[in-house]
């Protein structure tokens, strides 16, 4: 099913999404990869506040190329999400229920998604030039020293995504492959 949704990703909105849905996302999202997640989780462990309000937030696992003059951002496709599996349950526990990336997740991430109404969206890996087109604003908000891995606040319009894992734990990677194979019999 094709859906156009506007953030923030509330529990109610999250629960309307199903694995396999094509989603066009509009609103504010935050970028972070391995090093940024590690810092955020260290911050939370110390009982301190994150550089942004995580409630109902969506995090895009991306390390963009530097913007050329006149560009909002450089090429900006997703990185492999599995490297953030160690941090994702902690991030969801403080409300950041949306994740955008590519590739498989661990069972403990899926369990946390069921508990906190999380949604895992897939952006097309390797389509960085195309995805940059829907990023209309980009603002560096923290961890500048991490370069491509710094924490950025983005405003995206109609970002083309697919729901890979929904808040009930349904997984397109399993279901899509199974349905295709069944269609070939």
């Amino acid at each position: 099913m094709e859906k156009h949704i506007t953030l923030p990703l509330t529990e109610e909105l999250a629960d309307t999404l199903h694995a396999g849905d094509t989603v066009y996302l509009t609103g504010t999202i935050y970028t972070s990869r391995d090093a940024g997640h590690k810092r955020m989780c260290d911050t939370l462990a110390k009982g301190e506040a994150l550089p942004f309000d995580p409630m109902d937030a969506t995090i895009y696992y991306v390390g963009p190329t530097p913007a050329k003059p006149g560009q909002v951002i450089g090429s900006a496709g997703p990185t492999t999400s599995g490297r953030m599996d160690a941090y994702a349950p902690t991030m969801m526990s403080v409300g950041a229920r949306g994740m955008i990336g590519k590739g498989a997740r661990l069972p403990e991430v899926v369990e946390a998604m069921k508990k906190y109404h999380g949604v895992y969206f897939g952006a097309i890996g390797g389509a960085g030039a195309l995805l940059a087109k829907c990023i209309k604003k980009c603002e560096l908000i923290a961890y500048e020293d991490l370069g491509a891995e710094a924490l950025r606040k983005l405003y995206v319009e109609e970002m083309p995504l697919v729901v890979i894992i929904d808040s009930r734990g349904n997984n397109l990677y399993d279901e899509g492959k199974a349905a295709y194979l069944a269609s070939q019999k």
Binding site: P66, K68, G74, S75, T80, G122, I124, A129
Partner: protein, 281 residues
Amino acid sequence: MMREIQAQQITDVVERLCIEANEQLPGDIKNAIRRCRACEDWEIAQGVLDKIITNFEIAEEERVPICQDTGMACVFLEIGQDVHIVGGDLREAVDEGVRRGYDKGYLRKSVVADPVRRGNTGDNTPAMLYTEIVPGEQIKVTVGPKGFGSENMSAIRMFKPSAGIEGIKDFILETVETAGPNPCPPMVVGVGIGGTFDKCALLAKKALMRNTEERNPDPYYAALEEEMLEKINKLGIGPQGFGGKTTALALNIETLPTHIAGMPCAVNINCHVTRHKTEVI
């Protein structure tokens, strides 16, 4: 007679190839993606392939990186034995080319100085440099930026010879199946068979640099390339792992003689952004 080549010329070529390889997909890969799109009958897979095509068209037209992971710069130099490099150190000439290319091309700097203690080098150096001495008086420079989403899903295994061709076939399929959605399928699969542990891995990497429209010159391995591509495309992983026919665009095999006691096999996975560009000095 030795032909003199200035180190500066090598720097200039590496700089240019780093930028161009990251913006322009090779013709054979573009053809393969378009061909697979035409044969793909699964709806979600068709949508993904359409976006992948639009993406490389935008990159080429607007001269921006196809993918944000602009990779580690793998640089292959085939140096003619009658060439004398003057005016600088070869290693430094190549690294300077990478440094300039990644700066001027607005490419991402993705190299850390230490594998355990990390720390970005800030300029994407050092290059992964491979040199080979060949006959002649030219230098053939190939730059293949390699992303790590796919590199991380690669594997090597030291088989007993008794495992035979079936062992190798199972290993290729198992590596692709385990990789699943992670390496940004549709993938390109580079297979190395033979040599030593290290040479085998290099063969797999070299297989990824070969034109995917050319089959291995040995009919036995040419047939194996075709058979394995067909088998991979029956796994159902599909573009991005969402299901479908197009799991791999191509599979290239490179081989070397090996020891009586062994049969090494390496599988180097690449994504649909299989980039490389060559120039002869």
